[in-house]
C-alpha cells in the first residue's frame, strides 16, 4: 500500500502497473517543489523491491531498508551542492560522472534486491553530456532497472530524455487535505494548520516542514512583509526593490519567478478582500494589512497591477531586461495616497 498524501490518480496508476507486472522502466514525476515527488518515488522504489504482499508493504526488510536510505540498489542521483573531492566547488548541475557511475551499476546484477532503482532528483538540471549519456541508458535499458526522474520544471528536461519516460504529473493537494494532514498527523492546531495549508499552495511537504518550525515559514513571512511594504511604499523603495529582485533573477531564475508568483497571490488577496471574500485569501495572518491595502486602492487599480506582474512574467521569458521590466511595472503601479499611508 502506498503511503503518500493525495496523488490518488498516480497511486492508482502505479498500483495497477505493479499488480499486472507492467511497470515501465522509466517515469518522469513532474510537479512543484515539496508536492511529494521524492516521497512517491521512494514508495515506488520500495514497491519494486518489496517482498511482502500489496507492495510496498512497508514492513518487509527491503521496504525498511529503502525507507531508511540503506538499500544498496536504490540510488539517488542529485546535484551535489557541496562539490566533489576534486575541488571544483559546489555544483549547479548533475554531472556526467554521476551518470557514468549509474551506467556502470545498471549493467551489473542488482546487489541485494530485485532490481536497480535510480532516482534522479532535479532531472532538469542535468548537464547536456549527462542527459545524453542517460538517454542512451534509457533507450537500451538493461533488464531489472527502474528510473524515476523527478523535476519541478519538466519542460526543461531534455526533450529526448522526457520522451523516453512515462510522464506522471503530480498536482498540488487540495488545501483542506493539507490542513487535515497537519491537524491529524502532525498535531498542528486548527488555525495554524489552515494558515500553513493556504501558504503551502497544496505542496504538502512544505507545509509539514514549515509546521515543524523550520526556517521556511520565517523566510516566507519575510518575503511577504517586503511585498506588503512595497505595495505601500514610495517610488524610491520600489526601485530599490526592483534592483534587488533583478539581481535575484540573475542568480536564480526560478527563485525570481517564484517571487513574482507570490506577488500575484498577494494582489489576488487584496482583490478578494475588496470583494468581501476575505475567507478565501491565502495569507490568513496578514488579514489586517490586506484590509488596509484593499481600502487604499480601487479594484480597477489592483487588476491593472496584476496585469503588470503577469506582463513581467512574460517579458522575462523573452529575455527583456528584467530590471527595466520590474521598474516599469512598479512605476505604473498605483501609489497609496499620502493621507492613507500616514
Amino acid at each position: 500500500m502506498f503511503r503518500v498524501h493525495g496523488h490518488a490518480l498516480a497511486v492508482r496508476y502505479f498500483e495497477r502497473s505493479l499488480r499486472e507486472g507492467r511497470l515501465h522502466h522509466a517515469y518522469l514525476l513532474a510537479g512543484p517543489a515539496h508536492v511529494g515527488k521524492m516521497t512517491l518515488a521512494l514508495q515506488l522504489a520500495a514497491a519494486a523491491e518489496c517482498e511482502g504482499v500489496d507492495p510496498p508493504c512497508g514492513t518487509c526488510k527491503p521496504c525498511r531498508r529503502v525507507a531508511s536510505g540503506q538499500h544498496a540498489d536504490v540510488r539517488v542521483i542529485a546535484v551535489d551542492p557541496t562539490g566533489g573531492e576534486d575541488g571544483k566547488g559546489p555544483r549547479t548541475q548533475i554531472g556526467i560522472d554521476a551518470v557514468h557511475d549509474a551506467i556502470g551499476a545498471a549493467h551489473l546484477r542488482p546487489y541485494e534486491g530485485k532490481r536497480h532503482v535510480f532516482i534522479v532528483q532535479d532531472a532538469d538540471r542535468m548537464s547536456a553530456d549527462a542527459a545524453n549519456a542517460l538517454l542512451k541508458l534509457l533507450e537500451e535499458p538493461p533488464p531489472d532497472v527502474l528510473f524515476l526522474l523527478l523535476s519541478t520544471d519538466a519542460p526543461n528536461v531534455l526533450p529526448t530524455v522526457r520522451s523516453r519516460c512515462a510522464l506522471v504529473d503530480l498536482k498540488p493537494l487540495p488545501v483542506a487535505e493539507v490542513a487535515r494532514v497537519l491537524r491529524e498527523e502532525h498535531h498542528v492546531d486548527a488555525e495554524h494548520a489552515e494558515s500553513l495549508a493556504r501558504l503551502s499552495r497544496g505542496c504538502i511537504g512544505w507545509a509539514i516542514e514549515a509546521s515543524q518550525g523550520s526556517a521556511l515559514l520565517a523566510a516566507m513571512q519575510q518575503r511577504l512583509e517586503k511585498i506588503a511594504d512595497i505595495v505601500e511604499g514610495d517610488l524610491e523603495t520600489r526601485f530599490a526593490y526592483a534592483d534587488e529582485l533583478a539581481r535575484r533573477f540573475q542568480r536564480d531564475r526560478a527563485a525570481g519567478r517564484d517571487e513574482l508568483y507570490l506577488w500575484l497571490r498577494w494582489l489576488r488577496d487584496i482583490m478578494l478582500t475588496q470583494q468581501d471574500r476575505g475567507d478565501g485569501i491565502a495569507h490568513l495572518t496578514w488579514r489586517d494589512t490586506l484590509a488596509r491595502q484593499a481600502a487604499a486602492f480601487t479594484p480597477a487599480q489592483v487588476v491593472r497591477w496584476l496585469h503588470g506582474v503577469l506582463e513581467v512574467l512574460e517579458d522575462v521569458d523573452r529575455n527583456v531586461n528584467t530590471r527595466l521590466a520590474l521598474e516599469v511595472m512598479l512605476l505604473e503601479a498605483p501609489a497609496v495616497a499620502p493621507a492613507a499611508s500616514a
Partner: protein, 375 residues
C-alpha cells in the same frame, strides 16, 4: 564486541579489504569496513556494491559482536602504529570502536552494523576449483585487453566459460582479443558462461597468495561469483548481457607466419614505441621469408619532425612477404604477458587481424587489429 589482535595482522587485513571500499558513492556506509567476530577470528569486510571482500585474521575474542567504522580512518590509524598487541572494543552504544595499544588509544565513530549492506552469501551454486598459478596466469594474460569504459558494458568484463574441466578466459575491447584456456583442478557440473568485471579479476589476481587452489562458485541465479582464497573471500556482481562470440574472430588460416624470440621482439617493440609515441603509436612490421640469407623481421617507426627508427630481427618466416602496422601499446602489452621463449605472429593481409601465440603453448591466443597506414 571486545577482542585482542596484533597490529600487523589488522593492518594486513585492512589492506586486503581496502580495495573494495567505495571511493565515490551515493551510499556513505560503503566507505566503512565491517568488523565481525566469527568463530574465534575477526572478520573484516568491505563492499563497493560491485566487489565485496572479506578476510579473516587471528584474534582473541572476548566478546562477540559486530560494528562498522570508516575504513580509511581505521586503516590510516592502524598503519601509523608500531607492531604491538591491540585491544579493539565496541563503544557502548555500538556505533564505533575504541582501539587500545601500548600507551595509545583511539575512539573511532562509526555506525550500526545493521546499516552495512549485506555481504552476499554464496553457499550454493555451480562450483569448481582452479590452481592458484593457473588462475593468476590466466587473468594476467587477458585482463588488460578488456575495455576501460565502453558503450558496450559487456566488454568491460572478462568472459569466463566453464566447460567440464576447462576454463576459458576471454577479454576484448573492439581492437584486440585475448583468450586463455586452462584446466580446472575440479570440474564444473554444467556448462557455464559469465562476465566478471575486469576490475574484479585484477583484484583476484592481486589477492592470490601462495599455491592453495581457489574455489570459484557462481550463484544459481547467475548474479554473483565467489572466489574463495586462503583467508579471503571475494564476491563480485556479474555483468548482465551476452559476451560476443569471439571464436569466429580468431582467423583460422594465415599467409605468413613469423617465429621470433620474445625477448628480442619485446626490446625492438619498446625501442619502436619511443618513436611511435609522437607518431600516432604506429609500429610497422615487415616480414621477409628466408631467401639468400635467413628470414628477417623488420620493425620500424617514425614520427614527423622527430625522427625514425628501424630494427632488424632474425626470424623464422614461413609463407610470403608481408607487412602490417600495429598500435605500439597493443603490441607491447601482449608481449609483456605472453611468457614463453618464442612468439609467433600470423598474418593474412595487412588489413586483416594479426594473431600472436606463444610458441609451444596452445593455451593462449591474442588477436590484434592492424592500423591502416601509407607504406
Amino acid at each position: 564486541m571486545r577482542l585482542n589482535c596484533l597490529q600487523e595482522n589488522l593492518s594486513h587485513g585492512l589492506g586486503v579489504v581496502q580495495r573494495a571500499v567505495a571511493t565515490r558513492t551515493t551510499l556513505p556506509i560503503t566507505q566503512h569496513v565491517l568488523l565481525t567476530t566469527d568463530e574465534g577470528r575477526l572478520k573484516l569486510s568491505a563492499t563497493n556494491l560491485e566487489i565485496a571482500i572479506s578476510t579473516w585474521i587471528g584474534a582473541e575474542i572476548q566478546e562477540e559482536g559486530a560494528v562498522t567504522v570508516p575504513a580509511r580512518l581505521l586503516t590510516e590509524f592502524v598503519n601509523s602504529l608500531s607492531r604491538q598487541a591491540l585491544e579493539v572494543q565496541a563503544l557502548k552504544h555500538g556505533k564505533g570502536i575504541t582501539v587500545k595499544g601500548d600507551r595509545v588509544e583511539a575512539n573511532i565513530n562509526g555506525a550500526d552494523a545493521n546499516e552495512f549492506p549485506p555481504i552476499p552469501n554464496v553457499n550454493s551454486g555451480i562450483a569448481c576449483q582452479v590452481a592458484a598459478k593457473a588462475l593468476r596466469d590466466g587473468i594476467r594474460q587477458v585482463v588488460f585487453a578488456a575495455a576501460i569504459e565502453d558503450s558496450r558494458p559487456v566488454l568491460t568484463g572478462v568472459n569466463l566459460q566453464f566447460d567440464g574441466d576447462q576454463l576459458t578466459l576471454a577479454a576484448a575491447d573492439g581492437f584486440r582479443l585475448a583468450v586463455h584456456t586452462t584446466t580446472l583442478a575440479r570440474a564444473v557440473s554444467e556448462k557455464l558462461s559469465v562476465i566478471v568485471p575486469a576490475r574484479t579479476m585484477s583484484e583476484v589476481e592481486r589477492l592470490i597468495e601462495g599455491d592453495d587452489p581457489i574455489d570459484v562458485v557462481v550463484t544459481p541465479q547467475r548474479s554473483q561469483v565467489l572466489f574463495r582464497m586462503k583467508n579471503v573471500e571475494m564476491v563480485s556482481q556479474l555483468i548482465q548481457g551476452t559476451f560476443p562470440n569471439y571464436r569466429q574472430l580468431v582467423p583460422q588460416e594465415h599467409a605468413t607466419r613469423v617465429v621470433v624470440g620474445l625477448g628480442e621482439l619485446q626490446r625492438a617493440a619498446r625501442t619502436a614505441a619511443i618513436f611511435a609515441k609522437d607518431g600516432s603509436g604506429i609500429i610497422r612490421l615487415q616480414m621477409q621469408p628466408a631467401g639468400k640469407g635467413g628470414g628477417k623481421l623488420t620493425i620500424s617507426s617514425r614520427a614527423e619532425e622527430v625522427g625514425e627508427h628501424v630494427s632488424e630481427l632474425e626470424a623464422g618466416v614461413e609463407g610470403q612477404d608481408a607487412r602490417i602496422a600495429f598500435n605500439s601499446k597493443y603490441l607491447t602489452e601482449v608481449l609483456n604477458v605472453i611468457g614463453e621463449k618464442q612468439v609467433s605472429v600470423e598474418l593474412t593481409t595487412s588489413s586483416s587481424p594479426g594473431v600472436l601465440r606463444p610458441v609451444g603453448n596452445d593455451r593462449y591466443v591474442h588477436v590484434v587489429m592492424p592500423m591502416f597506414v601509407q607504406w
